[in-house]
Symmetry: C2
Subunit: 204 residues, 2 copies
């Protein structure tokens, strides 16, 4: 868990299947540091929220015009921020295991590196981030003990915690990702990161 | 129709029922002038596009979490831009007649004033912009001959033209409002106005 050290704090709510969460995850640490804001990394699952809205797939697949726009928009955004993008051959990928691991990583303080590695694997390297061997390899590359981390990530307690987090997301009014929470204020979308940071520092 | 005078051009596609089109309509003329970009005002109807997606109401009513967020977000955005906001007691209001008039206004070159007046009436003054007397009064306030304009606006030819425009919107891949079109590039959302203007002037 990020400590705030007296700094204003922002919660970064992300879902590994979410395209726009990718540039946000790549940008947030530098942007928050520059703004003097601490980041709390909150992995959660959008699936249950979408399902409650009647969607059993990504809205970008359900609504083709929106999907076509999103992929072109992602190209522009990633180019603007110098973030590599390769459209995944499989979308959306299941981010459940990665989210469970990210929760452990947040406890241990290495969420930023792990989260970025998963997003890169999904959206720049077209890898199957829903599969355990891929996550294990990413953990090994980051010099973590994959077996040990995966055992903690898939413990009943950690599974329940992620469910509770996703329930908390719904209670806070989240309906998409990425979302940024500052106190009771909700900001939705990669393009609102700067607004959320400004809100956290009192520049409204 | 806006003449470009050799300036780069942006198309501003708006729908009178669209909340986020309101701040965009209030900002675009000044922002475009500052960027040296000409604006073509394109009223269109989102209803048929939403209906084809299976929605018979505003998505902000269909998805309550999204709606709650949108109204709070509109408060922040309007405060930021100094645009007055009063949440309409009736939402969404039917923008059909106003769009027909806006098309006539665009032909005659007075679209900006009329469009802003309608948005203000809907989102700052809580007036029933779907009703003809309200539109007639706005026209009179802008010193137009309301009877003459309304007759042109509701002519069979003008009605067909608006239908064709809404069909063109769908063909261009529009799925929401406001949208900005620069050549073949589509930008969706009030918060993309600056990106669209930058694209138009080659600053990418």
């Amino acid at each position: 868990m990020s400590t705030t050290d007296g700094k204003p704090k922002i919660q970064f709510w992300f879902e590994f299947a979410s395209t726009y969460s990718y540039p946000a995850a790549m940008r947030i640490e530098d942007a928050a540091r520059a703004a003097g804001v601490a980041v709390e990394w909150r992995p959660f699952l959008l699936g249950p929220i979408f399902f409650a809205q009647g969607w059993n797939d990504s809205p970008f697949n359900i609504y083709p015009a929106k999907g076509a726009y999103m992929w072109r928009d992602m190209e522009r955004i990633c180019a603007k921020h110098g973030v590599p993008l390769q459209r995944p051959t499989n979308f959306p990928r299941n981010g459940l295991l990665a989210a469970r691991v990210a929760q452990v990583a947040a406890d241990d303080g290495w969420a930023p590196d792990f989260v970025r590695a998963v997003y890169r694997a999904n959206f720049a390297e077209d890898r199957e981030i829903g599969e355990e061997p891929v996550i294990a390899e990413l953990l090994a590359t980051l010099e973590h003990d994959a077996d040990e981390v995966l055992a903690r990530a898939t413990s009943p307690e950690n599974k329940e915690r992620l469910k509770a987090t996703s329930e908390e997301a719904k209670e806070r009014g989240l309906f998409g990702a990425p979302s940024f929470v500052v106190g009771d204020e909700l900001f939705w979308g990669n393009d609102r990161l700067e607004d959320a940071l400004a809100w956290a520092t009192g520049k409204r």
